[in-house]
């Protein structure tokens, strides 16, 4: 502490106070703090609320709804494929369903729900009162929601995209996909990518500038590291797909020739642009899930993690190597052999940081007294499934093998092992782990185990046979197959597995609804965990922390001394949070965070009009720019918190209300 204090700028003074006195002052401030941070009421209030916890929960619920919809689509496909020459779905419906399934799971479920966990827990884990840009956060949610509604509105109107979730040209181009189906896909991409980019900027801004004093980068929780690496990947990867989808849309709408070989365009260019995003995307989904695993393992082994530094470096190197893999999706295109070798090497190299992390976690688990609660079960399930998926990944990195099984069910099996094993299992572990923090109620442990085993058995039953089917030559994305192929039995097993997997998800939903009504009350810290989010009540107060904590180590709650210092002096009448320096988290500013506002919704609606009407006419972009410009102007000129504090006036007045005057240094 002493040398830290020496480095502090002169504006910060320290003093001491007795615990009793502190409690008394806090009690006095509490009402005012609650009023300042109160969430606006009613429907209007719901639309303008910028609380990061509320927005994150909306993200999570919305993404989960899309997960269920995507799951229903998967079940429909499994019914269709259960036996040869089935006529449950028409070929056209089947095309739409597998496209919408893939699109939903990648863009409307996986990326947003991972961002949502970051938005919920970042401020709580680093000791801030909200994220860095709360209104931008609200805007990001609305844009995402509009994108999701657009996709499903199209789907229900029989205008669902049908060219696969990566919409390769020339199939998706104007010549082979007339109508508006692919345009809906392209604009949905625009919406979800805007939302993801906004989320990334928020995550980085919050992590860099809003950490509690003492939380140097060296002490940053692994969860936050994972979110940070992901956010950087989003920043460099997402622009590629925005360009790909914009080029595609403009080829279709205003006759540009980016992908038209007749006029010098290039269909392979689309694949490069898509996969330059698409491969990092896998890690954008996977790395946050790695961030769930570490805290769960720490909590249920009650140990410090083995190899903190190695884990952080693995996350960062995964982030880098993840950008050098995209061509392995394109081994079936004419790529120079040198290029193929490079990308084979890089694809095998990515196994190294993944392996390092798995060994660090095993070392932490090894010889520990494990507390086998549901979250840990899901983490152990992750090990089993993800390692299998990783192994087939190394296989697919080999060009000859890849050519042989390209676009077969082997690839379908691989990608589901990696994504469901790598992301969905840790995600369900995270649901069980953090549900008490969101709701104040515990999920049933008994139902949790049932949920885990149904999902684990069901998952392997669906996807393991697909390896075999792929090796037997069954191509992906066919709506049916002939009895003579002999694929019927394995397909039937997979279809039965799908329903067991679905039953597992159903158990979770019932468990969650049950817990909300009659679940055991959780208390602040039901798992006796180490990170800061467990220091506040469940669910947390709107302002998160009454006093910004001071962090003493990588495991703040386990390492907090009895008389841990606290930060005082933030306003109780304005939404202030502490801004600190990037590396050492030295206090720098009392930053006023904007409160509720209607303008994020308005700008999101303007964005929606722009891109949805833009499917039909390019003039929408002119009109949309004017609408968005108008809404942004109003956003700019609005007082930061005007909707929220009718009683309070601006700067001068609230300056005098700042209470620390009551907190003159008193030696006790």
């Amino acid at each position: 502490m002493s040398d830290e204090r020496a480095k502090q700028p002169p504006e910060i003074s320290t003093s001491t106070i007795s615990d009793e006195e502190l409690a008394e002052v806090m009690e006095r401030e509490k009402g005012e703090l609650e009023r300042t941070w109160a969430r606006p009421r009613g429907l209007h209030g719901w639309l303008i609320d910028t609380d990061h916890k509320a927005i994150a929960l909306r993200y999570i619920v919305t993404a989960f709804v899309f997960f269920v919809l995507g799951g229903i689509e998967a079940a429909l496909m499994r019914i269709q494929l259960a036996r040869p020459e089935n006529h449950f779905l028409s070929p056209d419906k089947y095309n739409q369903i597998f496209t919408v399934h893939g699109t939903t799971m990648m863009f409307l479920f996986a990326v947003p729900i991972m961002t949502a966990f970051g938005i919920y827990f970042l401020p709580l884990m680093i000791g801030a009162r909200d994220v860095a840009f709360p209104r931008l956060n609200l805007y990001g949610y609305y844009v995402y929601l509009i994108g999701g509604i657009l996709l499903y509105a199209g789907f229900l109107l029989n205008t669902g995209p049908d060219a696969g979730w990566f919409a390769y040209v020339p199939l998706s181009g104007p010549a082979y996909s007339p109508g508006k189906r692919v345009d809906i896909w392209a604009q949905m991409i625009t919406f979800t990518e805007i939302s993801a980019l906004v989320g990334a900027v928020i995550v980085i801004g919050t992590t860099f500038k809003m950490r509690a004093p003492g939380m140097t980068l060296n002490r940053l929780p692994l969860f936050v590291w994972a979110q940070l690496v992901t956010a950087f990947m989003v920043i460099f990867a997402m622009p590629a797909v925005m360009l790909a989808s914009s080029f595609l849309a403009s080829d279709r709408l205003i006759d540009t020739h980016f992908f038209n070989p007749a006029e010098g365009g290039d269909a392979i260019l689309y694949q490069h642009l898509f996969w330059f995003f698409g491969h990092p995307e896998v890690y954008i989904i996977f790395i946050p899930a790695l961030g769930f695993i570490s805290p769960i393992i720490i909590t249920f082994t009650r140990r410090k993690i083995f190899g903190h530094l190695a884990l952080v470096l693995s996350l960062i190197s995964t982030g880098f190597i993840g950008f050098g893999l995209w061509v392995h999706h394109m081994f079936a295109t004419p790529i120079p052999q040198m290029g193929q070798s490079f990308f084979t090497g890089a694809s095998m190299m990515i196994a190294i940081p993944s392996g390092v992390q798995i060994f660090c976690w095993i070392a932490t688990l090894w010889g520990g007294k494990l507390n086998f609660k549901t979250p840990l079960l899901f983490v152990l399930g992750f090990f089993a499934i993800f390692i299998l998926g990783g192994l087939t990944g190394v296989m697919l990195a080999s060009v000859p093998l890849d050519l042989q099984i390209h676009d077969t069910f082997f690839v379908v099996a691989h990608l589901h092992y990696v994504l469901i094993g790598g992301s969905v299992f840790p995600l369900f572990g995270a649901f069980y782990y953090w549900f008490p923090k969101w709701t104040g109620r515990m999920l049933s442990e008994w139902a949790g185990r049932l949920n885990f085993w149904l999902m684990f058995i069901g998952f392997n039953l669906v996807f393991f046979p697909m390896h075999q089917l792929g090796l037997h030559g069954m191509p992906r994305r066919v709506y049916t197959y002939l009895p003579e192929t002999g694929w019927g039995m394995l397909n039937l097993i997979a279809s039965i597995g799908a329903f067991i997997l679905a039953a597992g998800v159903l158990v979770f939903i019932v468990n969650a609804v049950w817990a909300l009504r009659v679940g055991a009350v959780a208390g602040d810290d039901p798992w006796a965990a180490e990170s800061l989010e467990w220091a506040v009540s469940s669910p947390p107060p709107h302002y998160n922390f009454h006093n910004i904590p001071v962090v003493h180590g990588r495991y703040p709650l386990w390492q907090a001394p009895e008389d841990a210092p606290v930060v005082r002096g933030l306003s109780t009448t304005k939404r202030e949070t502490l801004v600190t320096s990037v590396l050492d988290a030295q206090p720098e500013l009392r930053f006023e965070i904007p409160g509720p506002s209607i303008w994020p919704l308005m700008v999101a609606l303007a964005t929606g009009v722009t891109f949805i009407v833009g499917i039909f006419t390019p003039w929408a972009f002119l009109v949309g720019a004017i609408l968005a410009g108008g809404a942004l102007t109003a956003w700019f000129f609005g007082d930061p918190n005007y909707e929220n504090r009718p009683g309070h006036d601006t700067e001068e007045k609230s300056e005098t209300v700042v209470p620390p005057g009551e907190l003159q240094p008193k030696e006790v």
Partner: protein, 208 residues
């Protein structure tokens, strides 16, 4: 009776320039996004070039073939204008830092005039490219490059107008002084990235 140390931050400022302010970081990451967008767009430009033996593609005339290189006039004038526009912007930036409201206002007005002039010049640049966006892939990617940059010019100029309205009609507060410094950074970025695009669109077809 146990005691606690209190770190009293009530004297800390609300806003400070550069790395202190979250807005500065947010703006910089926006620029990082846009930089990677332009990097990929430029990669697209060169990727498409591989499909052409002559870039830009030749046009058959009655007796001859014409290689329609983009005309340098408007683009060069625009480049000079944009580089010069950095001068008022640097002065505005400095004025905002030292708290000189009057000087900031003058600088912003000049910068806005430059921005509007650059937008007007840009609209002539499209005509200086021989092809339309729907002629061929060359036309598509050049129009897209010019258009994406124009979009940033437009957003930038609008931002300057908003900030200017604020400091003319409301107060010259610290929050908006930080905004001016941040907008200035955006300005330098737009000019800097244009130098790259200018060199690529106008000169790489001429050399090589």
């Amino acid at each position: 009776m146990s005691t606690r140390t209190i770190i009293d931050v009530s004297e800390l400022p609300h806003h400070e320039f550069d790395t202190y302010d979250p807005v500065w970081w947010g703006n910089n990451f926006l620029l990082a996004i846009e930089t990677s967008m332009f990097a990929i767009l430029i990669a697209t430009y060169f990727y498409l070039r591989q499909n052409f033996t002559l870039w830009p593609p030749p046009v058959a005339q009655l007796t001859d073939t014409l290689r329609p290189l983009p005309e340098l006039g408007y683009g060069t004038a625009n480049t000079i204008l944009l580089v010069l526009s950095c001068i008022p912007m640097v002065l505005t930036d400095r004025a905002a830092r030292r708290g000189d409201r009057h000087f900031s206002q003058i600088g912003l007005v000049i910068a806005i005039a430059c921005g509007v002039a650059a937008l007007v010049l840009r609209s002539f640049e499209y005509a200086a490219v021989y092809f339309r966006w729907d002629s061929n892939a060359y036309g598509s990617v050049v129009w897209f490059l010019l258009g994406m940059h124009m979009l940033h010019l437009l957003v930038l100029t609008t931002e300057c107008v908003l900030v200017a309205i604020w400091i003319f009609t409301r107060e010259f507060d610290m929050k908006h002084r930080v905004d001016i410094v941040t907008v200035a950074l955006y300005w330098y970025w737009v000019v800097g990235i244009w130098l790259l695009i200018y060199a690529i669109v106008y000169f790489t077809p001429r050399f090589g």
